[in-house]
Symmetry: C2
Subunit: 201 residues, 2 copies
């Protein structure tokens, strides 16, 4: 049976890692970097811009000059990218079992009845620590307070992106089927718990 | 090892049943009716009043005349009941493994590091159906819309109660370690999932 699992997360909670490990354990597709590559192939938008624009809807970017190759779209860069992202997610999910982290996938695939997971961390210190462990040099240059400020800024940016493209609230429990606190349950065990839940639905 | 599990829930999500079944499966105490009985023994407050006041902080009730037996307290009935509830919860949890549903137990026992669960239902229809199944005659006298209105009223009352005694938000994901949607995962399976999570923490 085809399984589609969408994961949303707060920054620093390990949601992306949960997604990757879950796809590995289930031996199914993990749409993440592959998404960026597919959009690149379809649109020729610079990969760095794609990365910067990923899950972004910052109004500063609405004034980007559109390059000749997609001048006909006449839409903000972020809308263009989201449209392509949406097409690829739908196309992939129609064919394969997959895990997709972020990118409004839960909304895009709402008619496919995905299992919707939210990964968060109730303890800000564990988010700060996870970020410092990921980029160790940040520990030397940033205070924990500054790190937390960055974390919250990214959370806000992602929530804004979600709200813009779905009209919904990314961080509302009611939008999910299972929400796991990775400051209490490790990433490895969160994956085990999701696999257990998939057997029970 | 002592295990303390607190469960909060939205009305009609089956949270109380999850608590009862979980305590049965783990063969540990379930503080629910027992709480009412203990408060009754300690205070002599009429059992019906105790039931009505359970998880309530409705301001109409602040003007209750205090009976002679506890006139010295000089506090609203709901505060008096919450104080006694809090004492009993602390006393029980200091001695035994237990499951406690509602009653701000997660806050009262915050220093005991409980495993905090939230049970909700992302589909209002499943809440309406659960309520109708519990009191079948309601199906004859109430429309689903009227039932939902009642459900939301009780949710609001409980959230107000939680906020009054803890200063926090009962329905905020960050206050919990595991949140389970019983419109996707059955009550029986939610219990299995919590037991699995307890093995993983």
């Amino acid at each position: 049976m085809k399984q589609i699992i969408t994961i949303n997360r707060t920054f620093g909670s390990g949601g992306r890692e949960v997604g990757k490990r879950l796809a590995d354990e289930l031996n199914i597709k993990h749409l993440d970097k592959e998404l960026i590559n597919s959009i690149y192939k379809k649109t020729n938008i610079d990969k760095q811009i794609l990365k910067n624009e990923d899950e972004n809807v910052d109004s500063d970017l609405y004034n980007y000059s559109l390059s000749r190759s997609f001048a006909t779209y006449q839409m903000p860069m972020s809308d263009h990218i989201q449209l392509e992202t949406s097409k690829i997610i739908k196309e992939q999910a129609s064919k394969n079992s997959c895990v997709i982290v972020g990118r409004c996938a839960d909304y895009i695939l709402r008619n496919e009845n995905p299992f919707k997971v939210y990964i968060y961390s109730s303890d800000d210190n564990s988010r700060i620590e996870r970020c410092f462990n990921k980029i160790p040099q940040d520990r030397e240059t940033k205070t924990p307070e500054a790190m937390l400020k960055e974390i919250k800024k990214i959370d806000k940016k992602r929530s804004k992106y979600y709200s813009y493209y779905t009209g919904g609230d990314k961080d509302l429990m009611n939008n999910y089927n299972l929400c796991i606190d990775t400051s209490k349950i490790s990433i490895k065990n969160a994956v085990k718990l999701i696999i257990e839940a998939l057997k029970l639905i």
